[in-house]
């Protein structure tokens, strides 16, 4: 498991200290991640995708929105790697720029879910009693709407667009985080160091943030990573249904939706955006599985 210390190095006391300083909790996690083939693969693919998203203008001579009717519905060829759509837009360019939108949508949605769920779970677990009962009722109520149904309800209220889709996905993912944080808080609340903090006069807010919150970081990182993958799919699903990003935004789900009516004549309009979603989600899932094994093996299914 741990780094072997070369016999020659043990004579030097400073060298002997070095491996233990490496063994900080985060150092350990990194070492374990680097050993997991899946996590490394996922991380590399994700890094490539992020570089491609940032460097999109360098990777294509075309614009993602400009139409060239004379080049419409071309199958994949040398000039158009992924073919062109019904307006003659280059699909490779659209998928490339779409990665900016889809990846950002996933991250923003889950950031929102964490921002809503963590304070909820923290308050609920820390104060207990009627506060806990009330908040957990609310969380349970949200969980009675399966899958994207809650997101659909929120879209029905707010109206269909990309921002509302992010809100909807974020809000409907938040109960999970509230639940998980609450469970960690319940364990941490009874620790001696919490009593100690209270004894020296710390206020509730400070105890929650400085002494209890760090206990919940590992499960949040694991769930959050896997959550981004789920959020990308959910947001793409909403866009596909016409309830998220609207044309001509090249969000991946919206691209699939555009390709829907041309499946017979232009399979590439459906195939490539879908593959992009799958590769991104697979990479994030692989990384998330690796993180879970490294950080919190109890979360294993």
């Amino acid at each position: 498991m741990h780094t072997l210390i070369p016999a020659s190095a043990t004579s030097d006391p400073r060298a002997r200290l070095r491996p233990s300083s490496l063994r900080s909790p985060w150092g350990d996690v990194l070492v374990q991640l680097a050993r997991s083939r899946g996590a490394v693969t996922g991380g590399i693919i994700l890094a490539v995708l992020l570089v491609a998203a940032v460097g999109a203008p360098l990777l294509t001579p075309y614009d993602s929105l400009s139409m060239r009717p004379e080049e419409r519905l071309q199958p994949p060829n040398r000039a158009h790697l992924f073919g062109t759509d019904v307006f003659g837009r280059d699909l490779w360019t659209r998928v490339l720029y779409g990665s900016r939108i889809s990846l950002r949508t996933g991250v923003i949605s889950i950031t929102l879910a964490v921002a809503l769920g963590v304070p909820l779970g923290l308050t609920s677990g820390y104060y207990g009693g009627s506060v806990d009962r009330l908040l957990m009722r609310l969380v349970d109520l949200m969980l009675t709407f399966p899958g994207i149904l809650l997101a659909l309800v929120i879209i029905a209220i707010l109206g269909p667009n990309l921002l509302n889709a992010m809100l909807a996905v974020g809000i409907s993912a938040s109960p999970t985080y509230a639940r998980v944080v609450r469970a960690s808080v319940l364990g941490a609340r009874e620790q001696v160091y919490v009593d100690a903090a209270r004894a020296i006069g710390c206020r509730d807010g400070r105890i929650m943030v400085r002494h209890i919150l760090p206990n919940t970081v590992a499960p949040i990182i694991v769930l959050g990573t896997l959550g981004v993958a789920g959020a990308i799919i959910s947001a793409a699903a909403l866009s596909y249904l016409g309830l998220g990003a609207q044309p001509p935004t090249p969000e991946w789900g919206a691209l699939l939706s555009e390709g829907r009516n041309y499946l017979r004549v232009a399979w590439w309009m459906t195939a490539f955006p879908g593959l992009a979603i799958m590769i991104a989600v697979l990479a994030i899932n692989l990384l998330g599985d690796g993180l879970r094994d490294a950080l919190d093996p109890r979360l294993r299914p």
Partner: protein, 307 residues
């Protein structure tokens, strides 16, 4: 056992009330005047709006409106669709058959695939069979269902012409949607079956069963699977939620006239009463399924019954 059943059923009542309350509030959360929402895009005089408000009871306190809403619910009255003016109740009824058929077929596919993949990979742990099965499962978790469904349509209806791409009725219109939905729903199940079977294979009673000379298939069936079933059924219950929301998308891709497609179309048409009815319907189905899952635990695991 009966006492447990009754207790669980009673516990589901407040949940249903809360869900109905939330669905009731949707109309008031939509920006704009509910009366104006009800008449849709047609122009109306202020007098006409006031009249509608009065007829619908919108001028009364919210709580008395909710009580009214519940009373109507009790009679099965869910209001009228703004778009078609048909009763929401009859709109839902005409779509339930198609959705139920899809859910049942997809559930069967998901169970067969999930159990099969999970069991095979657990029993062949560490081999390429295991790696392959888990890669398929990971693919199922990562694949957007609307993409898989489109690709199935492309290959099997448009290119090979084996199955019709859209519509409802007859088994050949059911094959592609239930395969797509079933495969996506099986992935999580396969991963869980694998880990729970591996867990149980290490238990002393499995070693005992083997050492008394019981054949391996019998060990798997009687000792391993029976014990794995409780956690498997939990996940199948949870997966049913995934299946329901997957059905919303599947029905749209295959243009199947089901409750899911009804809901999506209602949202696009801003048909709020229809949205309310469809959401309430799906949520209630989900609550009832979870209730059935809880009851089946008690049946499978006597320890739960006597708690």
């Amino acid at each position: 056992m009966l006492q447990y059943l009754v207790k669980r059923a009673i516990l589901a009542v407040p949940t249903m009330l809360a869900v109905s309350g939330l669905v009731f509030l949707v109309l008031y959360l939509v920006p704009g005047d509910p009366a104006a929402i009800f008449i849709g895009d047609r122009p109306a005089t202020p007098e006409r709006l006031a009249q509608i408000r009065h007829v619908m009871g919108l001028d009364r306190p919210l709580l008395s409106q909710y009580a009214d809403y519940l009373r109507k619910l009790g009679r099965g009255d869910l209001g009228r669709s703004i778009h078609t003016n048909a009763s929401v109740h009859s709109e839902l009824l005409s779509r339930v058959g198609s959705s139920a058929e899809l859910a049942a077929a997809a559930f069967a596919v998901a169970t067969a695939l999930g159990l099969g993949l999970g069991l095979v990979s657990a029993l062949r742990r560490g081999t390429w069979v295991d790696a392959g099965a888990m890669l398929v499962a990971l693919g199922g978790v990562s694949m957007p269902i609307f993409w898989l469904a489109s690709m199935l349509i492309f290959v099997f209806s448009l290119k090979l012409g084996w199955f019709p791409a859209t519509g409802f009725g007859g088994w050949n219109r059911l094959v592609l949607p239930s395969l797509a939905l079933g495969f996506i729903s099986s992935a999580t199940l396969a991963r869980l079956v694998r880990s729970s079977v591996l867990d149980i294979l290490g238990q002393p009673y499995v070693t005992t069963a083997r050492s008394k000379g019981l054949r391996e298939p019998a060990v798997i069936r009687r000792h391993v699977m029976r014990n794995a079933l409780v956690s498997i059924i939990t996940v199948m219950g949870l997966q049913f939620g995934t299946l329901l929301s997957g059905a919303v998308i599947t029905e749209t891709v295959f243009a199947r006239p089901g409750v899911g497609k009804l809901l999506v179309d209602a949202i696009l048409n801003k048909d709020i009463p229809l949205v309310q009815g469809a959401v309430l319907f799906v949520a209630v189905v989900y609550i009832v399924v979870n209730l059935l899952v809880d009851i089946s635990y008690a049946y499978l695991d006597p320890r739960i019954r006597y708690q």
